[in-house]
Amino acid sequence: MATVTTTAAQQRSIESNILSRQQRSLWQDAFWRLRRNKAAMVGIVIIALASFCAIFAGFIAPYEPTAINTAKNNMDPLFVGGKYTDSSYILGSDQLGRDILSRLIWSSRISMVVGLVPTLLVFTMGASLGMFAGYFGGWIDNLLMRFTDIIYAFPDLLFVIIIMATLRNTWLGDLMGGLILIFVALAVVSWVGLARLVRGQVLSLKEKEFIEAARATGVPTTRIMFRHLFPNALAPVIVSAAFAIPGAMLSESVLSFIGIGIRPPTATWGVMINEGFVVFSQSPWPVLLPAVCISIVMLAFTFLGDGLRDALDPRMKI
């Protein structure tokens, strides 16, 4: 006969089960939700692959990205077939006979760096300015936010183009083949959005009782800002960073495509499209392949950003 009563031992184990249940923080919860999002996971896998290519480009790429072989120029990729293919050029070669696959792999390195570094700069600048403005309020807020408004008023791409065009031939433009200048230009135009976002968050958070409680405990101002306020404002910041990375990559490609970004011969997807355009009527592949790469990586980051937004939204408790 089945009994519904539990023994004392069972009871104890149930209790201890409850108490020893795995503790999950907000972030662990969010990660768990992220893992259930298929699109976001696909995005993560693609980003991981791209990062792998970027880090180990030297080992994976069959050729040097700048190795020229004019005898074998304008080869089609192997999957196209036909007589203009060469088994040693899997994705074909461009008009100078450089291996497209190798160039794509090396380009991913630039793209990843251009995606991450300006975003990091934006993150630090925007978050700290926004936090100061929001927390202190008053004239500091006014000053910082009017400054932000001024920057915001410029059309983004135009501003970047102006910066690049004017500073390209100075010492700053020469650092690391123009990379540093790109970082700076992209960061300068895009920190404003983040500053506004963080300020808005801080404005609402600083009125919360737990901040008052922290002040009543005698916590110093900087510690309140960085330890109590910032982690609470982090979720939307992460989401916007996830969307900012592909934005920066795309901007780099656009700049390189119109010829004021990274200087050739350094391979980037934008540079490749720019150079491939010349021979587009003979072979579309030097343009199409880097374009596909850009699209895939952009899509991956967008998936991840969407997934993060859903995962970090507390109202989405599943």
Partner: protein, 374 residues
């Protein structure tokens, strides 16, 4: 023995677009070490602002403490620089907030939040602070404190969070705890537990505390003395038993009349205080309670009554009412029998009912100082 806390003529005002809100208007009181004090009054009468002023936590702007002195342990809190005040907060004076649901930071673990004060004020290192945190959690009866210490606030129930708040307040052995409506957000059974805990711990550690509440029932068993506040002023001071047995201010009578009593016949009606609390931007010229008082006379709207000793009462019993003071017309009134002029009461009721709804709303909003803590 010198007083631990001596507040003299404290005036806190909020400078808003609509005018100056006299949220706290000349409050004076003192508190000995280990003593317990209740501050009672309805919403918007300046209780919380008083408490926040004591720790200099009034948001500036729009708020400002314009006059008075707060002597804590021989030092004037109002004259200290910011670092000294910060050293006092959480260390010598601790505060328990009203809503435990929102007073804990959702992204930090319980132990990190309690350790914070220990690391800041007691200069403990991480492991010491952790050990002490667990002790504190055990002291406030959190089951399996060691495991729960690394939980996040959302994993705790309301009562447990308020215990955590108490543990936080006690962490540095403060001399004074300010409890601002500590049980308002909790249900009744938990209220009793929390109050008991607070009382016992305060007694054990000889901590003085000020209990701020709108609920006379809460202070009844908790504190030695009670101060009743109305419209930014203290209107009656007495020790707890005296206040309940022999109240001497029509406002206190009104508060007591509006509490249901177990020993009253079922048919007896509760008598509310009619009217609206005073607009603290332009308070009534005379007694602040005069517009709502059914015992009022002409003098009440012309002169401001002082907080004075009342005849027929204990020596430390003071009230701010012309009627009950020496030579007044209410000195021998039994508040339980004589509810005052009922016509007056009806008139006040009618007056409020006649007001267009917008005015009522504006007045109700004006009576609240801009929210410092809610």
């Amino acid at each position: 023995m010198p007083d631990l806390l001596e507040v003299k003529d404290l005036k806190t005002q909020f400078f808003t677009r609509d005018g100056v809100v006299h949220a706290v208007d000349g409050v004076s009181f003192e508190l000995a070490a280990g003593e317990t004090l209740g501050i009672v009054g309805e919403s918007g009468c300046g209780k919380s602002v008083t408490a926040l002023s004591l720790m200099r936590l009034i948001p500036m702007p729009p708020g400002r403490i314009v006059a008075g002195s707060i002597m804590f342990d021989g030092q004037d809190v109002l004259k200290m620089d910011d670092d000294d005040v910060r050293a006092i907060r959480g260390h010598n004076i601790a505060m328990i907030f009203q809503d435990p649901m929102t007073s804990l930071n959702p992204v930090l673990t319980i132990s990190r939040q309690i350790s914070e004060a220990l690391e800041l004020h007691m200069k403990m290192d991480k492991s010491e602070a952790k050990k002490r945190t667990i002790e504190l959690l055990e002291m406030v009866n959190i089951p399996s404190a060691k495991k729960r210490a690394d939980d996040y606030p959302h994993q705790f129930s309301g009562g447990m969070r308020q215990r955590v708040m108490i543990a936080m307040a006690l962490s540095c052995n403060p001399k004074l705890i300010l409890a601002d409506e500590p049980t308002t957000a909790l249900d009744v059974t938990i209220q009793a537990q929390i109050l008991d805990l607070l009382k016992n711990l305060a007694r054990e550690f000889r901590t003085a505390f000020i209990l701020i509440t709108h609920d006379l029932g809460v202070v009844a068993g908790m504190t030695q003395r009670i101060h009743v506040m109305y419209g930014g002023q203290i209107v009656e001071k007495a020790d707890t038993n005296e206040l309940f047995a022999n109240p001497k201010m029509p406002y206190t009578w009104g508060l007591l009349r509006s509490i249901p009593r177990l020993d009253e016949s079922r048919k007896a009606k509760l008598l509310p205080i009619e009217g609206l609390p005073p607009d603290l931007i332009a308070p009534p010229p005379g007694c602040r309670f005069e517009p709502r008082c059914q015992y009022r006379r002409e003098i009440c709207s012309q002169q401001v009554p002082e907080l004075k000793h009342i005849p027929n009462s204990k020596p430390d019993h003071e009230a701010r009412c012309f009627g009950t003071q020496e030579g007044g017309w209410l000195t021998s009134t039994d508040w339980r029998r004589d509810v005052g002029s009922l016509e007056q009461l009806e008139a006040i009721k009618a007056e409020v009912a006649d007001l267009p709804p917008e005015v009522k709303r504006v007045e109700a909003a004006g009576e609240l100082p801009p929210p410092p803590s809610a």
